[in-house]
Symmetry: C2
Subunit: 201 residues, 2 copies
């Protein structure tokens, strides 16, 4: 009995394919599911099917949606002059949580990564340019990740959008709030210095 019997091992294998779940976690979750009430396990199983059947991408901004437009695009109170460009639908949730933004979004569905073969054609760049032209956008906020791929993508988009006569901004890099100078890496601290602001007293 080197492995577990059929259905158990099958579930361990399937769970092990998920991101961030190693063989031990997969085993732990499998035995947890074995113990819970059948209706609880069934609910998880059905939730997976429901997501695959009902969730689509918004036809306008490529956020997740339930057919047609997403909740943000459907919301008439949103400021249509601002467009926040993110890599992933999850990033929208992060921006929303700040409560600092009331404009619309555009999800690129990734970032430029030549090594992995991801160029502008693999991202929703063309759709972004069409939206900027068609909708009354006055500011595009480049909210891609502050890592190599995200920065490259932001620079690339800034060059494309620059000549179109609108404000193109990039989110600030710097020390995280509650952080500590001692533990900041020199790149981040350098950016924080570079992006310093006048304190109005």
């Amino acid at each position: 009995m080197a492995v577990f019997s059929g259905p158990l091992q099958a579930l361990i294998d399937e769970l092990g394919r998920l991101p961030g779940i190693g063989p031990k976690s997969a085993q732990r979750i499998t035995f947890h599911l074995l113990k819970v009430a059948p209706e609880d396990a069934l609910r998880l199983s059905e939730a997976i099917v429901a997501v695959k059947e009902r969730i689509t991408l918004c036809t306008r901004c490529f956020n997740v949606a339930e057919g047609g437009l997403c909740a943000v695009c459907l919301d008439e109170r949103r400021d249509g002059t601002k467009l926040c460009v993110v890599e992933d639908p999850r990033d929208i949730a992060s921006v929303e949580k700040t409560g600092e933004y009331s404009g619309r979004y555009h999800v690129l569905q990734g970032a430029l990564n030549p090594i992995e073969g991801i160029g502008p054609e693999q991202l929703r760049v063309r759709e972004l340019l069409v939206r900027v032209e068609d909708e009354s956008v006055t500011e595009v906020i480049l909210c891609t990740n502050p890592n190599l791929e995200g920065e490259t993508t932001a620079m690339y988009l800034a060059r494309l959008l620059g000549p179109m006569g609108l404000t193109v901004t990039r989110i600030a890099s710097g020390l995280p709030v509650g952080g500590d100078l001692e533990y900041a890496d020199e790149l981040t601290l350098g950016r924080a210095l570079e992006g310093r602001r006048v304190i109005e007293a």
Copy 2:
């Protein structure tokens, strides 16, 4: 849009109930499942249902089984005179991997934990005593975890089994192979000293 739309949030919530999966992991897995091929997601969903429908507990040793007896109990080549007592079916896989054991098992389905209200009646202790009497067991190996609950359970079982005229053994505690004296805690090192063995040269 403080949360994600219905089916997405439902799946995030369901995944978040699994052991070792926090809200961020649940979100990450949900968006991963959104991206994979529908048949891959369906396979996971069906694997969960299959485990709940087909996996039962062995009627003899309480290991996981597919109806009736488990693979170990069905295996006639197993040494029926030895009985290894473990807390959880997963522990059987750990013991099997060592290749050092060819006897049978008995799964307690937990360990004594008075604070959580787990006494001998909540565990498969009565069934263990019946097996020891009915089957031709000559050695019981107490293979519960070397923590407070596991040690208490082992001591309790040793007292019950002692008068029944068979050998009762406990797995050794000591330094892990490949370990380092410097990093061993004093309790473990103390046990290692206590359990020292004569080297036969």
